[in-house]
Structures are given as C-alpha cells and as structure tokens.
C-alpha cells in the first residue's frame, strides 16, 4: 500500500500549526529561570525542603520588585537529585539544556555539586551552591562556581581546636560516611589534630613532680573508619570504638546516619562525647536520635547562629511567619538565590555569559550575613564557624569558633 503524499503533508501542516499555537499560548511573556537542585525526596529531603523554601522566598521578594529583565517573568526551576551524584549530573544536564535557565542554585551534597559543577562550567552557567562545603570543589578553577558558606578546611580545624581546648578531648575516634563531604571534613579534622599533637608537648605531673612522672598531654587519634550511607546497624563498629575507650567520637556525615550513631552509641554503652559537622544540623536529628540520646552532642555549623545576625533579623522573622522554624540551610539558599537574581538584574539580558560577567563585578553585596564578597576561587569571604550543642532536645548556640 502506498501512502498518499498529499495527505501526509496536510497532517504535517496541521501539526506545525498546532505546535505553533501551543507555543504562542505559553510565550506571551518570556521567562527567565533560575535552576535549583537539592535532594527533595529520600532521607535528606528535610534539608532540601528548607533550602527550597529559602530559594522560593528570594524569588517572591524579587517578583515584588521591578522585573529582573524588562518584559521577562522570573521563575524557579526546582529539580531533585536524591543526594545521588548520578541524579545530580542528570539534573545539571537538564538545566543546561533549557535555554531559559541562566543561573543555578545548588546542590546540597558536595558529592553532587562536584560532578555537576563541571557541567555548569562547560555551559558557562553561573552556579552558586548554598552549602556544599568541600574545599576541592572551588580548587577545580571553575570561574562559574560560587558558594555562600565556609569550607571544610576551616570547619574541620575549628572542630578539632574546640574539641581539644574546650572539651579537653585526649582520645579521639573519627568516623565518616565515605562521601566527598564526610571524608573531606574528617580528613581536615584529622590533619588539624595531627598539627595540635605535634605542637603540644609533655608536662610534669604536679603531684608527683619530684618522682619525675611525665604526662603525655597530646591528643591521640585512636582510629579513623568509614560507614556506609543508608546503613542502619552500627552497633558492631560502635562496640569496637567502645573497646578503645575514647573520650570523643567525631562523625563527619549527614543527620540520618548521625541520628542512628547517636542512638546506638547509648545502646552499646559508649559514653564518649559525640561531635559532628554541619550535616547533623537539623532538628530532625534530635527527633530521630531521641532527645535523651542527643543531649550533650556538639556540632560545628558553616556560619554563625542565624538568630544572632542583625542583618538577618527581618528575614528570619518573615521566614518563621511563613514556614515555621527556620532550617539549617534556608538562609544560605535565600542568600545564593538573591545573589543570582542580583547578577541577572545587573546583566539585564537572558544571556548566561552576561550574567557570569555581572557576577564578577559583585562587591559588598548587602546580604543576610553582612557585606558579601567572594575570593578568586568563588568562596565567600564571610567565614564564621559556629558551635552548637543539644540541650533539652534543642540546638543551643555555644560560640563562634576559630580555626587557628
């Protein structure tokens, strides 16, 4: 059977007509989009939701003002990377392929931000990560990469110094979750501990000084091991740690595993102080671990207590009115999105290259954490590490920490 060529072309004509009509319907006012990627499903979704709400608020604030680009409507394009590097790369490729997207805010996990940053760099697209803190990401030399938080080569040392000086830690065991973030942070912590150990010497015991008893005051690393993300049973490794009799257990990882470690350490009777990084900073941690087990846990955060920063007061009040208690990363996502909007506004055109050029002129941006500037690697120059502890089921700010 032969096809009627005339009828074929008629169908084709109709199809093109319909397609054009559909396009016209949508395209009344052209859009300019900011991509957003974080885990929105899975165990780390609470963190991702906090970030998404922060980003949405920044967009809402921008919509209340003049259009960012005359005649264009600003939109957020949120995608889910499920904290999975493979999904992160897929999301990045999707954003890069969309000509309406001119900048991206994301991702959450360093292991996702790392491979995705190469894709954004290739597409000359501005990327601002709110909170991926692994220092290696900015050392790749991508001029498209910016971040609004402190890096782990400051967070790790700050934790080590606090552990030794304020908690008096002498016997330390290190655990990490074998991700880019966890292993990186744990290595920075261990490196600083080594430096402290070399700098600290021996001292004489006062009570038995005449007998010449020498006390070793140096902190000691008893071991450094990895756990698997998504695993549930850590009793075996915790029992092993207990047998080494440490006084501090440092865990570099995220809150789902952190909560299980905090809970199970009580079950095996390990009484060492538990300390962690910013990945644990989520109220869900205390809920999952139970408040009793979480009592007295210490953790560092990439930034000071948001409630104590005067420039962030209005933002915090509005956020808590709209969404309830502010999450650990909400403010960073707001800051990153606001800066991306600023750059698009400055560029004044739906052009990735122009947005990137505009970003490079940023100086003293009036952000939530004070005047925001970036160094030549794209890392924020606002460098505060906060220390928090859990008291009666709530995070309580202790102090800002120094890393030197």
């Amino acid at each position: 059977m032969r096809k009627n060529p005339k009828r074929g072309s008629a169908w084709h004509f109709l199809f093109v007509l319909l397609w054009a009509a559909a396009g016209c319907g949508r395209g009344e006012s052209p859009v300019v989009k900011i991509g957003f990627v974080a885990p929105l499903t899975g165990d780390q979704a609470p963190h991702g939701e906090d970030m998404l709400q922060g980003a949405r608020m920044a967009i809402a604030h921008a919509l209340a003002e003049d259009p960012v680009i005359p005649g264009h409507r600003l939109e957020l394009a949120p995608l889910d990377d499920q904290r999975n590097p493979t999904q992160a790369v897929a999301a990045a490729k999707k954003l890069v392929a969309d000509p309406d997207v001119v900048a991206v805010v994301g991702h959450l996990n360093s292991s996702c931000t790392m491979p995705a940053s190469a894709i954004y760099h290739q597409a000359r697209m501005l990327q601002i990560t709110p909170i991926s803190s692994n220092p290696q990401i900015s050392r790749q030399g991508f001029d498209t990469f910016y971040r609004t938080c402190v890096t782990d080569d400051l967070q790790g040392p700050a934790a080590a110094l606090f552990a030794v000086r304020k908690l008096g830690a002498k016997r330390i065991f290190i655990l990490d979750d074998m991700t880019t973030y966890g292993r990186g942070l744990a290595n920075e912590f261990e490196k600083k501990m080594g430096a402290i150990r070399r700098a600290t010497g021996y001292s004489k015991d006062e009570s038995t000084a005449d007998m010449g008893v020498i006390i070793d005051n140096r902190p000691e690393i008893l071991g450094h091991e990895g756990i698997t993300q998504g695993d549930k049973d850590f009793t075996a490794i915790l029992t092993k740690i207990k047998s080494l009799n440490p006084d501090l257990l440092y865990f570099a990882g995220m809150f789902p595993e952190g909560a299980l470690l905090i809970k199970q350490r009580k079950d095996v009777g390990l009484d060492a102080t538990f300390m962690g990084g910013d990945g644990l900073f989520d109220p869900v941690l205390i809920d999952l671990a139970t408040p009793e087990a979480a009592e007295g846990v210490y953790l560092t955060t990439i930034g000071s207590d948001i409630h104590r920063i005067p420039t962030a007061r209005a933002f915090v009040a509005e956020y808590e009115r709209t969404f309830g208690p502010i999450g650990a990363y909400s403010a960073y996502a707001y800051e990153a999105t606001s800066i991306a909007i600023w750059a698009i506004r400055k560029a004044g055109a739906k052009d990735r290259q122009a947005v990137l050029a505009a970003m490079k002129t940023l100086k003293d941006y009036p952000g939530l954490f004070g005047p925001q500037n970036f160094d030549e690697k794209g890392d924020s120059l606002i460098r505060d590490v906060g220390i928090f502890t859990v008291r009666t089921g709530k995070f309580q700010f202790v102090r800002t920490a120094s890393w030197e």
Partner: protein
C-alpha cells in the same frame, strides 16, 4: 573491655541482626520451596510490615507497653499476611503456568509498586519509629545486652520453633510439604493447592511483618526504601542456608548477621559487606546447595 568480652558483645550484636535477617529469609525460602519463585517483593513486604506496626502504634496510645507491642505485632502480622495473600492472588496465581521468568519480573514490578505506595502514603523522608518497649540494659560480666536484643532473639526463636512445628506436625504443614514436592499430584489427590500456596505467602508475609516491627523498634527509624537492602541480605541468607529449606533460612540469617557483625568489629566497618559476601561466595563454591540445602536438581 577484655578481648573475650569484646567478642561476646560483637556476637550479641551480630546475633540480633541475624535474627531479623532470618525472620525475613523464612518468607523467601517458604515461597521458593512451594512454587520455586524468588519473590523479590518480599523485602518490600517486610518494609510495609514496619509501617503497619508504626500505624498501629500511633493509633493505640495509652496502653501498657507489652499490650501495645502485642497489638502492633498481631496487627502487622494480620494485615501483612492479608497483603501477601492478595499479592499472590492478584499477581502470581494468574501467571503460575507461565515460564518462571515472567513471575520473577512480576515480583520485581510488585516491589516497585509497594515502595511507591508507601512513599505516597507516608512520605519520602525517614520516620521516627516510636519506642515500643522500655530502654532497659543489663550488664553481664562486661557485656551489655538490651531488652530490645532479648526481645528480638526471643521472638525470632519462638516464631521459628512455631513454624517448624506447623510445617512438620500440622495438616497444613503436611499439605505444604506435599505441594512443594509435586503440585500436580497433590491437586489430583484433592489437596486445595491454590489455598495452600496462598497460605504459604500469607505465613511468610506475617513473619516478615514481625521482622519489620522488630527492625523499626531496634533502629528507631524507618524509610520506604529500607526493604531493598535488608531484603537482599535476607535473600542472601536464604541462599546461604539452602533455599527451600526452613531450618536453613534460620541458620543462614544468623550466620550472615554474625559475619557482618564480626567483619565490622574486627576488620573494618567500610568493608563489612565485602567480607560477608566473600565468605558467602567461598561457602557456596564448596557447597553449592547451601549450608543445609537439599539436592534440588531432581525437583525441576
């Protein structure tokens, strides 16, 4: 802690994990024994069991802990048993005569369905599992044992003995064993084969539900994708013990739990799965039918 105390403590940890694996492995092995199907949705049934126990616990409030626990256990068992029966009726029975691969693919599809239904109903994030029993700890010569662990061991042992009695001594058990030997001959002799197979699915699912409840109570958190890895481990345990063999599934579960516990405790926690699976491969190389496996060649 002396080396002996440490060893005993690691043994206790591994035994707890192993008992949970064993409870799930029983479902794999029973179903395989009767219809030669590897029911890959079984891990998901275990996860659904945990969520059902959670739901019952949230409904029943104010009762003493042992009553809540019993209600959660029985409720989850009944509901999960019903679910297992329904899955067999709706998904597996219509294709029983089809080639075995079809049923296997159906099972994988079923597991996706269950995962996504739970995700839609309960959300994608970790849920805290309420403490169903008090946190009591005992010290025996430097070894710490929690009430949780005792409950896991006790429940697992009780259910295994019960199952063994059911399979070896009751009419239903005899019919199940007969069906596993020759389905067609049983049907000719007037044994209600369809009902026996459905009962096997329901029984296996009910055991998985108990495993799910203990798992939730032991670790304190559950997630919709918890069934995948735990189910895979339990399937491994069933193969290790000799698939189709009920005491084998129990032994396999406990051996796998001990291997993981000792691997993490003495070698390295990041290599514990590698260690457990290397031992497994070596064991199966020496004894291809599993630890207590029968010769399955003449059954096909």
């Amino acid at each position: 802690m002396s080396p002996l105390q440490l060893f005993l403590q690691q043994l206790a940890n591994g035994l707890t994990l192993g008992a949970i694996y064993a409870l799930i492995a029983l479902g794999y092995t029973m179903v395989y024994g009767v219809v030669q199907l590897i029911n890959f949705a079984h891990g998901e049934i275990f996860m659904v069991g945990a969520y059902l126990a959670l739901t019952v616990a949230l409904v029943v409030t104010g009762a003493p802990w042992w009553l809540t626990l019993t209600l959660c256990g029985l409720g989850a068992m009944a509901l999960c048993g019903g679910l297992g029966w329904m899955i067999e009726r709706a998904a597996y029975r219509p294709i029983r005569a089809a080639p075995r691969l079809n049923a296997l693919i159906t099972a994988i599809g079923m597991s996706f369905v269950l995962q996504n239904v739970v995700m839609l109903l309960y959300g994608a994030t970790d849920r805290r599992f309420p403490a169903l029993w008090p946190a009591i700890r005992w010290q025996w010569g430097g070894v710490t044992v929690t009430l949780t662990q005792v409950l896991v061991w006790g429940t697992a042992a009780l259910l295994m003995v019960g199952l063994q009695w059911l399979v070896m001594r009751t009419r239903l058990g005899i019919a199940m064993r007969a069906t596993s030997q020759d389905l067609r001959a049983c049907a000719l002799l007037g044994i209600p084969v369809n009902r026996i197979i459905a009962m096997t699915f329901a029984l296996g699912s009910a055991l998985a539900a108990v495993g799910g409840m203990l798992f939730g109570g032991y670790y304190g958190t559950i997630n919709f994708h918890d069934g995948y890895l735990t189910g895979l481990k339990a399937f491994t345990a069933a193969v290790l013990g000799g698939i189709g063999n009920i005491p084998g599934a129990m032994v396999g579960g406990i051996v796998l739990g001990l291997l993981e516990g000792l691997g993490a405790g003495y070698l390295s926690s990041q290599w514990k799965n590698v260690f457990a699976f290397v031992i497994l491969v070596l064991l199966l190389l020496c004894k291809p039918t599993g630890l207590l496996g029968e010769r399955v060649a003449d059954r096909a």
